[in-house]
């Protein structure tokens, strides 16, 4: 019974990994830098968890998918496959270079499709398991900022909708969280319109819900109402907004 957390070394991913680790779970933690994974792994092992780490750049999604698959023994059951992973880029205002744009798409979208693609047959065979994706309120409506980031996260949302459809009646619980402002490195130091949520608290709520039901959620919850309003704003209003 193993949980795989992709993007585990910082922010919400680390908070989710810590939440699962404190329960003494068996975890595969994935992040880009061994130096960050090693202390997290050690800490959670002291807390009673069983940890394997994979240090691999999420942009190399195909290579990462292979390494994750290789880390699992044939009879090992995957209890959860979580993707609290993402990347933004400075200057994502429609002028990103092809390389920069591709890197965002690889991390924010293809990383999940490649890993899920490799493990989905196995999870369908076992007839149970959780797959969770994490999007952003930035993708609720396309704006002149975070252009490629938002597009890649919206693609991810569509992908998870398909996954949910695919897993329906086959034992899979597929959930997609649309995240509002979190107090992580991505938002640190920014003056934002709304308060930033504590990643540890969000992780606690996510953990309690994982496996209970499928579908889409906002975290924190109240962002759902705000997103509904933004989605319905007429164009002549939306086009004037600068946020």
């Amino acid at each position: 019974m193993t949980w795989i957390v992709v993007g585990a070394s910082a922010g919400l991913g680390r908070a989710i990994a810590e939440s699962l680790g404190r329960e003494g779970r068996s975890l595969v933690l994935v992040a880009g830098d061994e130096r960050d994974l090693a202390p997290l792994s050690a800490d959670l092992e002291v807390a009673g968890a069983r940890i394997r780490v994979i240090a691999h750049d999420a942009a190399d999604h195909a290579g990462l998918a292979s390494r994750i698959a290789e880390s699992l023994s044939p009879e090992e059951e995957i209890e959860g496959l979580l993707f609290p992973v993402g990347a933004m880029a400075p200057g994502d205002d429609g002028t990103l270079s092809p390389e920069e744009a591709e890197r965002l798409v690889r991390i924010n979208f293809l990383c999940a499709t490649s890993i899920v693609g490799g493990l989905l047959p196995r999870m369908l065979r076992q007839g149970k398991g959780v797959i969770a994706g994490f999007g952003s309120v930035a993708a609720v409506r396309g704006r002149s900022q975070n252009v490629v980031y938002a597009a890649s996260k919206r693609a991810l949302e569509s992908y998870f909708e398909s996954l949910r459809h695919l897993g329906e009646g086959r034992g899979l619980s597929v959930v997609f969280y649309t995240l509002g402002y979190l107090d992580t490195g991505l938002a640190y130091g920014k003056r934002l319109l709304f308060p930033k949520a504590d990643p540890a608290r969000v992780a606690g709520r996510v953990r309690r819900e994982l496996g209970r039901e499928s579908g889409g959620r906002y975290e924190p919850r109240w962002w759902g109402m705000l997103a509904a309003v933004v989605r319905r704003l007429p164009w002549f209003v939306f086009r004037r907004l600068r946020f």
Binding site: A10, R14, D33, A42, Y149, L186, G189, L192
Partner: protein, 459 residues
């Protein structure tokens, strides 16, 4: 609706997002706008421009502004690095990152029958802060200062890279770092020597101290039978009752039952929330009443009582209101270490001064100290007296008086407890002041790690 991406390096000479924050020292006396980065990955520490001045900040519980940058410094919040790296249950050696809190170490060690023998009174204080300030507990006379439990540490400095230090490898840098106020570099991790728990509870005996002058004798007579020892005094009582109070002697209850380690109750406080009440409660009248009430209520209870280890080690976790009562304006704490043979002079001088100049001393407490001084560590043989006063003219006068007194008595003030300590007093009271400053310069000619404290003290 999303956060904007981090600003580029040009924004602050770093590759990290930086927030402009108004920081307050825990005593409320120092308020400064600071550029604060919050690294949470190791590579972030290497992204700061190599010639940028910087200082590391831990929990922010230091009374002095040791975690505030000097002019132009970048403050690096180190609290994300808070993981326990290993714990050997046979030897009691625990390795952790420097942002690990004392409360987390307690959570790991206590259920396994170990505890950290040297620690100050609030669980959110970080290990890095304990090393940098070379803190002590209620058992200094027996277990010494924090440097005594540090078996080794890992330090990052942009000029030297990552260094593993202990008393044998790089002993000078190790000594400069333990009690060095974070001025040698960014402490990454430490190996700590924990002690076996003789019991899970502490029995505290209360002994009356009729007058301050009897404190030294009582502490010395009770110390041999005690693991922890400290006193509380009423410095607002006049006449014969000046300095009346109690001595508290604690020892582990051997064989006390291994209780389930339920999450202890911690009332949250930090340097920003401490002063949330604008108006201070303490003044001349209320402080006398407060001390008199405390004296009476302490005297009512049984002379011996048992406490769990957590509430005994971390009394502030349930008594944060004491600090809040000082309001936004804050307080001053003076902690001084006086040689044993000068205690009588200390007592008579204090009695004389406070008799002439009634001052709202909200707390006076003594501990017994044993140790060998080194550099700017608050260490040595003698009696440690801590005095709290509300910020204001009375406190200012008391500060000037105590500065002169501690210098004249051959004592030393605790630098980390005093946010206004003048450079001349530190220089006069610490014979190794120059050696410390010169050692820092030998290790780091550019003096990259610089704080308000180091700037004020000329380090």
């Amino acid at each position: 609706m999303s956060a904007r991406p981090p600003e580029g390096p040009s924004a602050a000479g770093t590759g990290l997002p930086v927030a402009e924050l108004d920081l307050t020292s825990f005593d409320g006396r120092v308020r400064m706008r600071q550029s604060v980065a919050r690294p949470d990955r190791y590579r972030h520490l290497e992204m700061v421009a190599p010639d940028r001045l910087r200082i590391t900040r831990g929990g922010g519980y230091s009374y002095a502004a040791a975690g505030f940058g000097a002019t132009g410094s970048l403050v690096q919040d180190g609290r994300a690095f808070d993981r326990v790296l290993s714990f050997d249950e046979d030897t009691g050696v625990l390795e952790c990152e420097a942002g690990t809190t004392l409360g987390k170490i307690h959570d790991v060690a206590f259920p396994r029958g170990w505890y950290l023998p040297v620690q100050p009174g609030y669980p959110h204080i970080t290990v890095g802060g304990c090393i940098a300030a070379d803190v002590h507990g209620k058992n200094q006379f027996a277990d010494g200062n924090f440097h005594g439990v540090v078996l080794g540490l890992r330090l990052f400095h942009p000029r030297h890279g990552t260094l593993d230090l202990d008393a044998r490898r790089e002993p000078e840098v190790f000594d400069l770092t333990c009690g060095g106020f974070g001025l040698t570099g960014h402490i990454l991790s430490a190996r700590l020597r924990l002690s076996r728990l003789p019991g899970t509870r502490v029995r505290v005996r209360r002994v009356a101290v009729p007058r301050f002058e009897e404190t030294m004798g009582l502490l010395e007579s009770h110390a041999p039978q005690s693991t922890f020892i400290y006193t509380w005094h009423d410095f607002t009582a006049s006449g014969d009752g000046f300095g009346r109070g109690f001595l508290y002697a604690g020892e582990f209850v051997s064989g006390s039952p291994a209780e389930g380690h339920s999450q202890p109750r911690i009332v949250e406080i930090d340097s920003e929330t401490r002063g949330r009440w604008r108006a201070p409660f303490f003044n001349g009248f209320t402080t006398r009443a407060f001390n008199a009430a405390y004296y009476r209520t302490q005297g009512w209870g049984p002379e011996s009582r048992e406490l769990g280890l957590f509430p005994f080690l971390f009394p502030v976790a349930r008594k944060v209101v004491y600090f809040e009562l000082f309001g936004t304006r804050g307080f001053r704490e003076h902690q001084v270490l006086i040689p044993r043979d000068r205690f009588a002079s200390l007592a008579s001088s204090l009695r004389d001064y406070l008799g002439r100049r009634p001052t709202p001393v909200t707390l006076a407490s003594c501990k017994l100290f044993r140790g060998v001084p080194k550099y700017l560590r608050f260490d040595g043989d003698g009696l440690c007296l801590a005095v709290d006063v509300p910020e204001g003219p009375d406190g200012e006068r008391l500060s000037v008086f105590l500065d002169g007194l501690v210098r004249d008595l051959g004592g030393r003030p605790n630098i980390i407890k005093d946010s206004r300590l003048p450079r001349e007093i530190a220089q006069a009271c610490y014979p190794e002041y120059d050696a410390f400053r010169d050692g820092l310069r030998r290790f780091d000619p550019q003096r990259l790690f610089a704080s308000e404290l180091s700037e004020r003290l000329g380090l």
